[in-house]
Amino acid sequence: MIQLYNVSKRYGAEGASVTALDDVNMRVREGEMVFLTGPSGAGKSTLIRLLLCVERVSSGQVLIGGRNVHALRDESIPYLRRNFGVVFQDFRLIETRDVFDNVAIGMEILGLPRKDIVRRVGQLLEAIGLQERAHASPRDLSGGEAQRVAIARALVNEPAILLCDEPTGNLDPQLSREIIQLVCEVNRRGTTVVVATHDAALIEEFGARTLTLKGGRLVQDRDRADRGGDMLAGGLDLSRLDDPMAEIE
């Protein structure tokens, strides 16, 4: 599903550049759940940005579903991104829209019918325990609440790949466990999941495969009890990638 071949990423100009990723090779199979860990500044968020084509690799290749994403034309990138659900480290909620709309964005982008949106978003808000705050502004949420909204937003389209960057940094241990259980549930239904986290206790408890980055290098790939999903949903949809104008009838 996700393959990285000799991926390096350097930020900044030649002279004063920062090497965020250094010759990383890794592979995440379809339906797999993977923890990504490592000290601050190890390159975890950078790796996620590369998958999303927010940044381009300095060298090497990133393959998603067998396709070299950095060979895609600009017009195709939105269609690539629709295969992902992403929880950003800094949440990135839209402050001018309320909680409900923030969660609904993904479905609106796909142009799904309003009543489906209302049903699905309602379910998710209930799952994260925020159904009562559906019409609050993200500005008025506590840190943990905002993080949960970000998680709901990532899940709304049952994406083929779920990327979570530090999804429990603002949650208490109890909520963290519940959220990761939710993520596991999604994974069990076929979604490939990558969770970047510092929470050693969480990794310990859920014991999935763990990739450890350090200074941009992949220093450890520890596989444990593999809990491969039964592939119910979450198949990758790359059909649109060659036909970027298909959406705009």
Binding site: F88, G106, G111, E247, I248
Partner: protein
């Protein structure tokens, strides 16, 4: 999803954008209204200046004095020749008697005492009205030249031209025109720049929102559509405000002109179809400015 449904969802998004920052929206609407008002005001001023110039210009005449005994037939020939000339709007023929009558009125009664009718000068005259739309300094020189030619024509005795007065008038017209063109160009450019800038700043203020949508897989068109619709709605609102403003100003000016009773020249000071132009122009301006602003404001 059908096109209509999609449009409705974009409209909802546009309204949400507008509700989200009412203050910013008020500014944009006022901006467009101010620009359109200025344009309207200027169009009005220009239109009326032009009418006024036409009005004044049409009173410009050249008097061609013919020899007293020129036969009717010959007068007709000369008249026809003059009529042909470019820049001549109308030719009026005055008989010797009509000219004498005119002169009698002009001369001092004391002077005329004891003179018999024949002593009062009178000769056939062709009065040429000039087309003021051709009035420029170049045209004037051409006319001076032409006047010389007329004088050479057999049977023409004299050409009263009033060139000095004409020259002054043309110079004034020319200045009004130049200043008008320069001012209108500056105004329009700054109006466009103004709207473009405010929209661009608005987009800049929402750069995070745009970035997030893009990260979630929204196509550039999906992101643009609400902004464009918002621009169109703002433009429409701005146009309505501008129409009200220009209308009020128009009433005021009309009153003023009616007061200065000598210039009651036309029923309406508004250029025809201006309301329509503003109503179409407003949304166009809004969409254009939004479009230009969005164009380079975000990348995928």
């Amino acid at each position: 999803m059908s096109a209509t449904l999609r449009l409705i969802s974009f409209l909802r998004a546009a309204l949400r954008l507008m509700r989200g920052s009412p203050w910013l929206n008020a500014v944009s609407v006022l901006t467009i209204a101010a620009s359109l008002s200025l344009c309207g005001l200027f169009a009005m001023a220009f239109f009326n200046a032009h009418t006024l110039i036409d009005e004044l210009g049409s009173s410009l005449t050249i008097q061609v004095y013919l020899e007293p005994d020129t036969p009717e037939e010959r007068i007709g020939q000369i008249e026809a020749r003059l009529r042909e000339h470019e820049g001549v709007k109308r030719v009026r023929a005055l008989s010797s008697e009509a000219d004498r009558e005119r002169n009698r009125k002009l001369l001092d009664p004391a002077l005329l005492e004891g003179l018999d009718d024949e002593a009062i000068p009178g000769q056939p005259v062709l009065a040429l009205e000039l087309d003021s739309s051709l009035a420029s300094r170049g045209d004037l020189e051409a006319l001076v030249h032409w006047a010389g030619q007329i004088e050479a024509v057999e049977a023409v005795e004299d050409v009263a031209f009033g060139a000095e007065r004409l020259r002054l008038l043309f110079a004034v017209l020319e200045i009004i025109r130049s200043v008008g063109v320069v001012l209108s160009a500056v105004l329009l450019a700054s109006a466009l720049f103004f709207v473009f800038t405010t929209v661009r700043l608005a987009v800049w203020g929402r750069r995070r929102e745009i970035e997030i949508l893009s990260l979630m897989g929204a196509t550039p068109n999906f992101i643009r559509a609400p902004f464009l619709l918002e621009g169109a709605l703002q433009g429409l609102l701005g146009a309505v405000v501008a129409i009200v403003a220009v209308g009020l100003l128009h009433l005021e000016l009309e009153g003023l002109v009616r007061d200065v009773y000598l210039l009651q020249v036309q029923p309406s000071l508004l250029p025809p179809g201006m309301v329509l132009w503003l109503l179409v122009g407003g949304p166009c301006l809004g969409v254009l400015a939004s479009g230009l602003s969005l164009g380079r404001a975000f990348k995928v």
